[in-house]
């Protein structure tokens, strides 16, 4: 189907990166047209992990379909579940108990930290530094252990359900999160010392993969990738859901628009998530963890759309209901899909060796793109 190495009529070299390639972090296939070492065009070929989740959801009930969505962006499983639960709650006008709201936000922010930790390790590994990966996993494993205790799973948690959360927190939850906060504060400076200040790393990141604020908006780039260009796009701030409007945290913005700016945004965003966790961990209200809901959920006829901020950007869930127990149509507006569409624009005219820096700072998760 695809030649391993081919030449175009103008004599440009066409090479394949992926679908099995360590730098694409999954089965992403890029067809790259090269003139010497300069990139002339990047064409993504998707679908190697397409599971047709949207079609599948059309035959699943509103309780069942949430479990499938953990498999989209597996690094933000909690936030995916959260978006779907919010959409069903919006349609049925379910009031979520305060305790559940706080638990949800706590879980979301821990997920965000874990996701950024993995990204940081993998990003450094893409650029040739292997050690940071182990440092990142040291902290990330702690979060996964905390999740495992309460949710029973380490990646696909399926913890959020319409009306609240599946079960109450594990008795050890607060103690272990506090231990994690201590560990994080003791270790985070290592990240800067090891990678951020490294001159080789900076040379490979600065000025690479520039994207202007206008292009960010036009291409629909969201999340830390957009904030690296100075575009305010944090849904938690712009369209607050749950209790985000009552919390103290800053939207991290950088203006350089290159890979290094996007790197800094993600790194600083972890600190903001830590701030949110610190505000909430001692203030979890008592009460129910789930609202009383009917056994069979039926959304009224109509259309419902929710937007949440995942670790990668804006996730939209669009449900069209005909009044039955299953959705008539579901669309997941995944952040990775739109972020990937800007890749060609970002790397065109750059060098092949810089491609991984641009791709790494977009933080692409392929199951999230393919769905």
């Amino acid at each position: 189907m695809f030649e391993e190495v081919a030449k175009t009529a103008e004599g440009d070299l066409v090479i394949n990166v992926g679908p099995q390639h360590p730098a694409t972090h999954g089965v992403l296939h890029l067809l790259i047209t090269l003139n010497g070492e300069t990139i002339k065009k990047v064409e993504p070929h998707l679908g190697y992990i397409h599971r047709s989740i949207e079609k599948m959801c059309e035959s699943l009930t509103y309780r069942q379909f949430i479990y499938v969505t953990s498999r989209m962006d597996y690094l933000s499983a909690h936030i995916n579940n959260h978006a779907c639960a919010l959409c069903v709650e919006k349609g049925m006008q379910i009031e979520v108990p305060d305790r559940a709201k706080v638990i949800r936000v706590l879980m979301d922010e821990l997920t965000r930290i874990a996701s950024h930790e993995l990204w940081w390790g993998a990003m450094a590994m893409d650029l040739g530094a292997f050690t940071p990966f182990f440092h990142a996993f040291r902290e990330r494993e702690t979060i996964n252990d905390i999740m495992e205790e309460t949710c029973g799973a380490r990646l696909t948690m399926n913890y959020m359900v319409p009306g609240g959360v599946m079960q109450d927190l594990h008795p050890d939850f607060q103690r272990r999160v506090k231990e994690f906060l201590v560990l994080y504060k003791r270790k985070i400076h290592e990240y800067d010392e090891m990678v951020t200040g490294n001159i080789i790393f900076q040379n490979r990141m600065k000025g690479v993969g520039y994207i202007s604020p206008e292009d960010v908006i036009s291409y629909g780039v969201t999340g830390p990738a957009a904030r690296g260009s100075g575009v305010s796009s944090d849904i938690r701030k712009l369209y607050p859901y749950e209790i985000y409007d009552k919390l103290q945290f800053d939207e991290v913005l950088e203006t350089a628009g290159d890979s290094f700016a996007r790197y800094l945004v993600r790194l600083r965003e972890m600190d903001q998530s830590i701030r949110i966790v610190e505000q909430l961990i001692d203030n979890i209200p008592e009460g129910d963890f789930q609202a009383k809901t009917k056994a069979v959920l039926k959304l009224p006829k109509g259309e419902f759309y929710t937007r949440v901020e995942t670790a990668r950007g804006e996730l939209g869930v669009y449900i069209v209901s005909e009044g039955g127990t299953t959705p008539y149509r579901i669309k997941f507006r995944s952040p990775g899909f739109s972020n990937l569409s800007a890749l060609d624009h970002m790397v065109r005219g750059g060098k092949l060796g810089d491609l991984v820096a641009s791709m790494g700072t977009l933080d692409l998760v392929i199951p999230d793109i393919d769905r």
Partner: protein, 152 residues
């Protein structure tokens, strides 16, 4: 602008549009032939400035297809939804990839999943489906695949 103010302004601009009631964001329907001019106006009008297309998708209603565009303004922070009804046997609508670049990928996905032909699209090819895909468009309601799809 609030939803009511938006609605008043948009009604003045597009008198032929039909409005839907009871939605979170102002929602109106236009004909596919109007879409190109409406989209340009939404993007360039100084009081509207819808510069961010945050979702573009299609719904199969068995009798017809409906294109759904979710638009937002990063300047004014207001949102609208625009819909266009397409003929199911020969669905065609103008592309907006030149106005909102993100539409290029969204439209390629809708093209292969629903078979909508986007007139003037710069690169209308399969994106997710494998090359050489033959047969019906998978997201349509009458698509059957007894080997790979399990019905519950």
């Amino acid at each position: 602008m609030t939803n009511e103010e938006l609605k008043i302004q948009l009604t003045a601009l597009f008198p032929t549009a039909t409005w839907e009631e009871g939605t979170e964001w102002p929602t109106f329907q236009i004909t596919p032939a109007e879409w190109s001019t409406v989209a340009n106006e939404l993007r360039t009008n100084d009081a509207l400035k819808f510069d961010y297309l945050f979702c573009e998708t299609c719904v199969d209603w068995k009798t017809h297809l409906t294109m759904v565009y979710h638009l937002s303004s990063t300047n004014f922070r207001h949102n609208i939804v625009v819909k266009a009804k397409l003929d199911r046997t020969k669905p065609e609508i103008a592309t907006v990839a030149g106005i909102w670049r993100t539409a290029e990928f969204f439209e390629r996905e809708v093209y292969e999943m629903y078979g909508v032909n986007f007139l003037g699209h710069p690169d209308l090819r399969l994106l997710i489906l494998p090359d050489g895909w033959e047969g019906k468009n998978p997201m349509r309601k009458d698509f059957e695949d007894p080997i790979n799809m399990i019905k519950l």
